[in-house]
């Protein structure tokens, strides 16, 4: 693959004078764990927003923070925020940087606050099925620890190896098994935060009287508070797991199957329906590979020949998305993957009931193989995107949600809007009784890097506008960040004033992660 160009830290703007002036006080606040070094600032300048990769390909760098701090206690977080208020500095809470919407970009500089030192994992309270964890705990670390004690959180985002509990809370994360276990907001019993005022707080557990503020803080993407810990619901490790794949004559029939499965009260942990073209790709995933290339040639092919060919092919094809998208009309079949887990008898019984529904809709029974194949490679997708971008294209994903009456129209309108700019795939997952999530993948190209970036922004504006116009929302689980800030504000209508009012209560000086959510 093409190597991305080296970016020189020397190209960074120097830290702002007011931050350098505040550096001694910052050091005192966090026990000396502060840096204004260029390498640290460069490392924290971006998250996994694909736009940053396009920029890096052009030798551009997102605006870096002026300083990075690593607090280790709620008091230290509080001290940093209070200092930021006094000195009028921005504070950007940072987990593991796996966000894909620019939620941790320091667009106006300031102090990035890495919270990974909040890495405690408490003992599971078996009687109450709960565990207290620090906000900086990585998802995979938490899940492995819970598994070793016989428990699971049930939260498996594809970023599980590189995302934190705090990041999940900040962006309202969803895992691949959300249809059974819920999104992160369904798992949280209480949160520990430091508000933009610098005050330390713990939200109460039910029962209590009055409004529940946890839903206001969860999803606030660092604009209201920094999460330092949470008490989360856990479940026993599943003793049984059942996979089942079906293929339908159309995407509409597949959607109807999911809707009826949830209407019947069944709760598969996984429901993934691939649109026809995605189905064509998925269908090949399980196929046996042909005899391999001699090992001696593999290295050459991988490093030189294939990337060069790929670059040419992708530029030629993805530069003409209309042609590529028209090809999709030749496909119609739609593949559904179901997975039930938990009590083995229950999982089998629910699978039988779901199978009956799928057969009523003339779904072809593919057995367990497609589900098992997906399960084995369920975290791979995040890594494929980087390779696509390295090959000289742009790639991104958009996840939205809609009620069942609107799902197909949202699918068609977003597909049509985005098809002008990129090659479009979609699958439907994270289902509920009243609707589901639509997960679009875009792959595009352009004549030049500048043209590609222009096309990238055009695509997002068109796709989000189409989604909202057709009755969808702007995000199901990636959050908003910078990427969807304007779309969020537009979709809120007059409600945006309520959001601003909440901001003024919890972050009166506007120091917390400015520019995100449109705040």
């Amino acid at each position: 693959m093409t190597r991305l160009p080296n970016v020189s830290a020397a190209a960074l703007p120097p830290p702002r004078p007011q931050v350098l002036e505040a550096r001694p006080a910052l050091a005192r606040a966090v026990g000396g764990r502060v840096s204004t070094d260029d390498l640290d600032r460069l490392a924290y300048a971006r998250d996994l927003w694909p736009l940053a990769l396009l920029w890096i390909r052009q030798g551009k760098i997102p605006a870096p923070p002026d300083a990075v701090v690593w607090p280790g206690s709620d008091d230290e977080v509080s001290a940093v925020i209070k200092l930021a208020r006094a000195k009028k500095l921005a504070v950007i809470p940072y987990g593991a940087g796996s966000g894909v919407c620019g939620g941790t970009w320091a667009i106006n500089g300031g102090v990035t606050m890495d919270l990974k030192r909040f890495d405690s994992i408490g003992e599971v309270d078996a009687a109450h099925r709960a565990v207290e964890v620090g906000a900086g705990v990585l998802g995979e670390t938490l899940e492995r620890k819970l598994n070793s004690k016989g428990w699971t959180l049930g939260h498996f985002p594809s970023s599980i190896a590189c995302s934190t509990v705090g990041g999940w809370l900040a962006a309202r994360s969803a895992g691949q098994f959300s249809s059974k276990y819920g999104k992160i907001e369904d798992m949280v019993l209480s949160t520990r935060v430091v508000l933009g005022t610098g005050e330390r707080l713990q939200t109460p557990e039910r029962p209590f009287s009055g409004p529940d503020l946890t839903p206001l803080l969860v999803g606030s993407e660092g604009t209201l508070c920094a999460f330092t810990g949470a008490k989360l619901r856990v479940f026993p490790n599943p003793k049984g797991r059942v996979f089942h794949g079906f293929e339908f004559s159309s995407v509409e029939k597949g959607l109807e199957a999911i809707r009826l499965i949830f209407r019947e009260g069944l709760r598969p942990a996984v429901t993934r329906l691939y649109d026809p073209f995605d189905t064509a790709f998925v269908g090949k995933a399980g196929a046996k590979k042909k005899p391999g290339v001699p090992p001696s040639l593999r290295g050459l092919l991988r490093t030189s020949v294939l990337p060069a060919v790929l670059r040419q092919v992708t530029r030629q094809t993805l530069g003409r998305p209309s042609m590529m998208n028209r090809l999709q009309q030749g496909f119609s079949r739609s593949r559904l993957i179901l997975m039930f887990e938990g009590d083995p008898v229950r999982a089998e019984a629910e699978d039988r009931a779901a199978t009956a529904i799928c057969r009523q809709l003339s779904g072809d029974d593919l057995g367990e193989a497609p589900g098992r194949a997906w399960f084995k490679k369920r975290y791979d997708v995040s890594y494929r995107m980087s390779r696509l971008i390295e090959s000289g294209t742009f790639a991104d994903t958009m996840e939205i949600a809609a009620p069942w009456e609107r799902v197909h129209e949202v699918y068609e309108r977003v597909h049509a809007a985005a098809s002008q700019f990129a090659f479009v795939l979609c699958h439907f997952s994270h289902a509920y009784a009243d609707g589901c999530s639509l997960y679009f993948s875009f792959i595009g190209s352009g004549e030049s890097e500048e043209a590609m970036e222009t096309r990238y922004h055009q695509l997002w504006r068109a796709a989000l506008a189409a989604a909202v116009h057709a009755g969808g929302n702007v995000s199901h689980h990636h959050g908003v960040g910078i990427l969807k800030a304007q779309a969020l504000q537009d979709s809120l209508g007059e409600g945006r004033h309520a959001l601003r009012a909440v901001k003024s209560v919890f972050d009166p000086d506007g120091v917390m992660n400015p520019g995100k959510l449109g705040l």
Partner: protein, 328 residues
């Protein structure tokens, strides 16, 4: 209230024995009420009561998503009768909750919550519309779940109308059940009863009501649930197995008449403690977190608004014009 602060009696306000009541018929009238009160320095909940009994619209039902848009003045029991011919029901809420108007259910101590399969609590509304103290409209998305910023419905749910006034909501319904089942079990202890129920709920069992009574050192419980024929049988199998694994067994008839008392939101620990003291309880809205309980059970009373947490009280600053009357 001083004479100068007497609000005008427009079409939306009337005098009652309890004092002045504003009774707007539309969201627009409600907005007008808020502006007039702000101009005159009159406070809702203190100087003037607000009724949304005239906001009774029940709009078209979304049969695919099983949702219905409902005005804040609709009584939930009436709504349930309206839904039945369409093959839907609002689902298993407690008796006292079903007697409330939608606005009271959402804004009051019930906070609009219900349990769903898997033992989670979620708001019965997937979207809501409300008016804030500056007279602006707040409308949340109808998407089933969202990561589009904070969930602003938190300004309405359980907030007693002190941060925003709900005018209507889109409610999640469920299929009207084909079968309604009651089965009685006997448990060796209160802990065994709690263990069995929690395990069932976590695996997807969705009971509508549980009546439990302590007799001669054992807990006798009648579990009632309703769903499709297939679902009822799957649940019966799961429930029977969970009861057996907890040391319980089938029993004959349980006491049908449960205690009728104020409903509380209670923890499972409180339920267990109550049973261990030989008391009878009736449980609704069973989740892994809390239940709605009738009987002598410790918990937050759901028939009255009690004090807010300090964090919640902080949000009263959102009512910059002081229209909503401050802390409950």
């Amino acid at each position: 209230m001083s004479p100068s602060k007497q609000p005008p009696l427009g079409s939306w306000a009337r005098r009652t024995e309890q004092g002045l009541v504003a009774e707007p018929a539309t969201e627009r009238e409600l907005t007008e009420v808020i502006h007039v009160l702000a101009d005159r320095g009159v406070k809702l909940h203190r100087d003037l009561a607000l009724s949304r009994a005239r906001l009774t619209e029940i709009a078209a039902i979304g049969t695919e998503s099983m949702t219905v848009r409902v005005g804040a003045g609709v009584v939930l029991q009436d709504l349930d009768h309206h839904l039945e011919p369409h093959g839907l029901t609002i689902g298993p809420l407690s008796p006292a909750a079903m007697s409330l108007r939608l606005g009271e259910f959402l804004e009051g101590p019930y906070a609009g919550l219900r349990s769903i399969p898997g033992g989670r609590l979620e708001p019965v509304c997937t979207a809501l519309s409300a008016v804030t103290s500056d007279g602006r409209r707040l409308e949340t998305s109808r998407a089933p779940r969202s990561a589009a910023g904070p969930d602003l419905s938190a300004l309405v749910l359980g907030a007693g109308g002190r941060l925003a006034l709900v005018t209507g909501a889109v409610l999640r319904c469920m299929p009207f059940p084909e079968r309604d089942v009651r089965v009685a079990f006997s448990f060796p202890s209160a802990q065994a009863f709690v263990t069995a129920l929690q395990r069932c709920v976590a695996e997807g069992f969705w009971p509508w009501r549980v009546h439990a009574d302590s007799r001669s050192g054992r807990v006798i419980a009648e579990v009632r649930w309703a769903a499709s024929v297939g679902s009822v049988e799957r649940d019966r199998e799961l429930l029977s197995r969970c009861v057996e694994e907890a040391g319980g067994r089938g029993a004959g008839e349980a006491e049908r008449e449960g205690p009728v008392s104020v409903e509380h939101e209670s923890t499972w620990d409180a339920v267990r403690a109550s049973l261990e003291q030989g008391r009878a309880v009736q449980l609704f809205r069973l989740s892994l977190t809390t239940v709605v309980a009738r009987g002598d059970v410790e918990g937050v009373p759901l028939n009255e608004t009690t004090g807010w947490t300090s964090l919640g009280s902080r949000l009263l600053a959102l009512d910059a014009r002081g229209v909503f009357g401050g802390a409950p």
